[in-house]
Subunit: 155 residues, 2 copies
Amino acid sequence: MTYDDSALVRRLSPEVQAMMGVYALYWKLEESLDALEVELSHQECHMMVKLDQPKRMGVLAADMLTVPSTITSTADALEAAGYLTRQRDPEDRRAWLLVLSEKGLEMRQMLLSEAGDSFRRASGLDADETAEFARLARKIRENIMKTGIPEGLKK
Amino acid sequence: MTYDDSALVRRLSPEVQAMMGVYALYWKLEESLDALEVELSHQECHMMVKLDQPKRMGVLAADMLTVPSTITSTADALEAAGYLTRQRDPEDRRAWLLVLSEKGLEMRQMLLSEAGDSFRRASGLDADETAEFARLARKIRENIMKTGIPEGLKK
DNA sequence: CGCATATACTTCGAAAAATGAACTATTCAA
DNA sequence: TTGAATAGTTCATTTTTCGAAGTATATGCG
């Protein structure tokens, strides 16, 4: 059988405990996205998820912890597959906004819903606990959105 | 400034909200691990974190969503750098157990503590909320540990 | 036992993904 | 208007990942 390290984990700080749970959940999410047999590469999946709204490529690069040239090729692939379009940012004509197409929005919806299913399967939480976890997760995400992006402030 | 999509997020199912928070936190963790300027590659970091106890390479492959040959080369690098050793699994002499060295344990400790710091910085939660989030995260992780591993059951 | 088949990991060449430096177009500041 | 800075692109190089064939051990069956 598998092992039980709960006693060990309990001795760690709450913050570390929190991150270990996050870590485990994230890998479960990856696993189910991989299993999805969708035509998207890893990186392409992530870009879809990050595109909660039109974003500049530079912002995406910061967001996805990568360099601009990687964003270019990922965006090329998603554009070629019809998931998004490039639109000049009216506020700065050097920049492009990546905008999900109808097909892209549907795909993103599907990916998110798969993420939700993955949580349900993996977490083992009941409805109340899930609601509480969701509340805190929402709060955390809001905090990250508010404070997280270095300075590529624009959408 | 950054945008506020909290109203949109609230309309999603709790499970999706939960996963979006997890997703955001995980990327923040990646970001701080990257910034750590440690001699470890991405994959090597992940292997260190996954090695909460000695594990077979095959189990790690399942755990890390990759193929055996990738595990071999990652383990080679970590072994060469003195973070772990290979020990034959006494229960099956075809298999190796990857065992963290003293140096490896320290490094893992450091990575975990960085993860904790990252949570503190990113989450914006107070002590009570952090404790509650940690409790649920622990529960989730226990559930994943219990149910997650396909069948490479062994340590 | 002895052989066939399955499993655990390794090797190594091929494929895929990520990077960075040089480049184009646009903006900004003086 | 001009020079420096910024957003994104191109493309050659590097890094990472993969997968097929190989070695060693285990397991099952007659």
